[in-house]
């Protein structure tokens, strides 16, 4: 059976430390915008941790939610791209083909999760930071949309390794950068078609919800809600 890559994010375990954001930047050659451009709203965080504050001081509560491309089955971003730069692959990934993108930015407008980012300028890395670039991932030029790919380079590498070693893929062989770097193990990645995998089992958890599920995009990221025992005063 073909793979169907999905992700589970346990909001109970997420501390909002943003190690996943940093790891994603490093793995995927995401350019930094700099303070001036970030102030203009040009920061590119394929994975961001949304923080919502509830209540007034001193009863303030903060809630974290890492938001990344949900790799929707009915992705609204795909049909609106005039050059087929965004399309669905056989393994359920929402592919972004940088070479086909001419930068109309319609996909970003259609995405209700706002997880698509645009290269407003040609990215630059001051020396010696250019040595840190990941050779497995392309560097995008100006005018191209980009977004989380579920670390498709690691998926491909994992599949090739398993094939070279003459075995099946095991659950946990492929870890996107965010899942690998999360200190509390809040991000779980796996094959939803492999019913034994952690991701597939947790996707059916009674704590599981999907973001903006009622809009019908059929996202493949399941968020596990926090449990009420955290609302007590530590007893």
């Amino acid at each position: 059976m073909a793979h169907r890559w999905g992700m589970v994010v346990d909001l109970d375990r997420c501390t909002g430390c943003e190690a996943c954001v940093t790891a994603c930047h490093a793995e995927n050659n995401i350019p930094t915008a700099g303070p001036q451009e970030a102030a203009r709203g040009r920061a590119m965080h394929w994975l961001r941790v949304e923080r919502y504050w509830e209540g007034d001081f001193p009863d303030v509560k903060v809630k974290f939610r890492p938001v990344l491309c949900q790799q929707c089955d009915n992705a609204p971003c795909e049909a609106v791209c005039p050059t087929y730069a965004a399309h669905q692959t056989d393994e359920g990934l929402n592919a972004q083909v940088y070479n086909r993108c001419i930068g109309t930015r319609y996909c970003a407008n259609a995405c209700m999760y706002n997880v698509r980012f645009f290269n407003f300028f040609n990215p630059q890395w001051d020396k010696p930071l250019h040595l840190q670039l990941n050779p497995d991932v392309s560097v995008r030029e100006v005018g191209v949309m980009e977004k989380c790919t579920f670390c498709v380079q690691r998926i491909k590498a994992g599949k090739q390794t398993a094939k070279a070693e003459g075995r099946e893929l095991h659950d946990g062989d492929i870890q996107p950068a965010c899942a690998q770097s999360c200190p509390s193990g809040a991000i779980i990645f796996g094959d939803l078609n492999d019913h034994e995998s952690r991701a597939a089992r947790l996707a059916h958890s009674p704590r599981g919800t999907k973001l903006l599920e009622d809009l019908g995009a059929e996202p493949k990221v399941t968020y596990l809600q926090r449990q009420p025992w955290h609302e007590s005063d530590g007893q």
């Binding site: 451009e37 203009r40 709203g41 040009r42 920061a43 590119m44 961001r48 949304e50 923080r51 919502y52 938001v67 609204p76 049909a79 609106v80 791209c81 005039p82 050059t83 087929y84 086909r100 993108c101 001419i102 930068g103 109309t104 930015r105 319609y106 970003a108 407008n109 259609a110 209700m112 999760y113 706002n114 980012f117 645009f118 290269n119 407003f120 300028f121 040609n122 100006v142 005018g143 191209v144 949309m145 973001l211 903006l212 809009l215």
Partner: protein, 454 residues
């Protein structure tokens, strides 16, 4: 006494082609400078990257798309006046048709530049065209932007032909009066037109068919432009009313642009004998009608949103009504609804000057309407963490100014090379009517039949 010969009509309408004042050169130079500044801004943008504009995350469409929709909207002037009034045989359309059709063609050309200008990689704009490419991939026909490509190109082709075909007899007229380079130039453009009955029949039949064909195309063009927005799940974009709403708004702004263009022409080219106050009065009444229609659409849309009280839509609703966009919103309401209603409802105020003032207000109001449809929705999508804002930067302002200057410049140049009022159509309007059929023979027969017999 003949009325077809030696009237001042042809002389008046051809005079601008042969005589140019200093004012013309000065104005053309000033406008060309503004256009060049805009071109320089665009070159700057291509060189340094589209980041020099004000767009950002999440407001990925800003001034360029606003101007795109605005100019495509203006292009609906010609169709309404020319095609619909031609089909219903309204006589007052005759001096107005070419002025209107010219607006359509130039507004379309200018509007069609913006999808290229706003691209991240504008040098690849031709990938929207369906051609057998070496990459072996075709455009995605499911995308509203590809629909735009087809719709705008069809409308531009149709409008251009609709404008050019009735110009042929006028080119023949100018050819016959001109000497030197003008004779060759207009001779080539006249395509050897003689004016035989066969040619006139072909021309008129062709115009009739094209008038019928161009109306659904025009309606479809702005509907498809509205689909750029309504097909996306952005709050207050995903509305079924957008198709008719945009078309009505387009006709509204188109008539306003036409009134302004006609008023300027009347003054600059001394066409008082041909563009009468009644023409402006009729167009002003149409403008009033469209203003009421616009108000009806806006009310319907906003009442539905307010009544439904969906949180993501209400965020956008309040942002425009009371929040940071409120000054722009209420200016729009005054310009599009209150001002036209006041000026155009009373005959004493519905003068040429009054119509021009109302039209200028409508152009501002309709530009603001496009802005207020695009930006607040994108700035307030479903996830409130990613709300943002937008403000334009100098390249966008320069390019926008350049498009207005380009429109004025193109219009001026057109009126210098082509009679801005269709001479042969005006002549048809002034024709003497044929005599009633001869009935004397028949009357004799009837008299004989009914003669009293002893």
């Amino acid at each position: 006494m003949s009325r077809t010969v030696n009237n001042p009509l042809a002389d008046d309408l051809v005079r601008p082609l042969f005589r140019t004042s200093v004012w013309f050169y000065g104005a053309a130079l000033a406008l060309a400078t503004v256009v060049l500044c805009g071109a320089a801004a665009w070159a700057y943008q291509i060189w340094y990257g589209i980041g020099v504009a004000g767009i950002n995350w999440p407001v990925y469409w800003g001034f360029y798309l606003t101007n795109f929709v605005f100019w495509i909207g203006i292009s609906h002037a010609g169709t309404l006046i020319s095609a619909i009034l031609r089909l219903v045989n309204a006589r007052w359309r005759r001096p107005v048709t070419r002025c209107a059709e010219v607006i359509t063609v130039f507004a379309l050309m200018i509007g069609a530049m913006f999808p290229i200008i706003h691209l991240g990689k504008p040098w690849l704009f031709f990938w929207l065209a369906p051609y057998p490419s070496s990459r072996e991939i075709w455009p995605n026909f499911r995308s509203p932007l590809v629909w735009d490509f087809f719709a705008i190109n069809t409308y531009l082709t149709g409008s251009l032909l609709f404008l050019l075909l009735p110009m042929i007899p006028d080119f023949a007229l100018v050819r016959d009066r001109a000497t030197g380079w003008r004779k060759h130039f207009y001779g080539a453009l006249a395509l050897g037109w003689q004016g035989t009955t066969k040619q006139w029949h072909r021309l008129e039949a062709g115009m009739q068919i094209m008038a019928i064909a161009i109306i659904p195309v025009a309606v479809s063009v702005h509907t498809i432009v509205s689909f750029d927005f309504s097909m996306a799940h952005v709050p207050m974009w995903h509305s079924t009313i957008f198709g008719p709403y945009f078309v009505a708004g387009a006709i509204f702004s188109g008539i306003a642009a036409l009134i302004i263009a006609m008023a300027v022409l009347r003054r600059m080219l001394k066409l008082e004998a041909y563009l009468h106050p009644v023409h402006f009065d009729n167009l002003a009444k149409l403008l009033l009608l469209m203003s009421l229609l616009w108000g009806y659409f806006v009310f319907s849309e906003r009442l539905t949103v307010w009544y439904g009280n969906s949180p993501s839509e209400m965020a956008v609703f309040w942002a425009t009504q009371r929040g940071q966009y409120a000054p722009l919103y209420w200016t729009m309401v005054v310009c599009n609804f209150v001002l036209p209603l006041v000026i155009l409802s009373f005959r004493a105020l519905r003068t040429i000057g009054g119509a021009v003032v109302a039209s200028l207000g409508v152009l501002l109001g309709m530009w603001l309407e496009r802005f207020l449809i695009i930006i607040p929705g994108l700035a307030h999508k479903e996830l409130s963490y990613s709300w943002g804002s937008y403000s334009p930067r100098p390249p966008e302002l320069a390019i926008m100014a350049a498009t207005f200057a380009a429109m004025a410049l193109l219009y001026m140049l057109f009126s210098k090379f082509v009679p801005i009022i269709s001479i042969w159509e005006m002549k048809v309007g002034n024709q003497p009517h044929p005599p009633a059929p001869d009935t004397t023979e028949h009357e004799d027969e009837m008299a004989e039949l009914w003669r009293a017999r002893p």
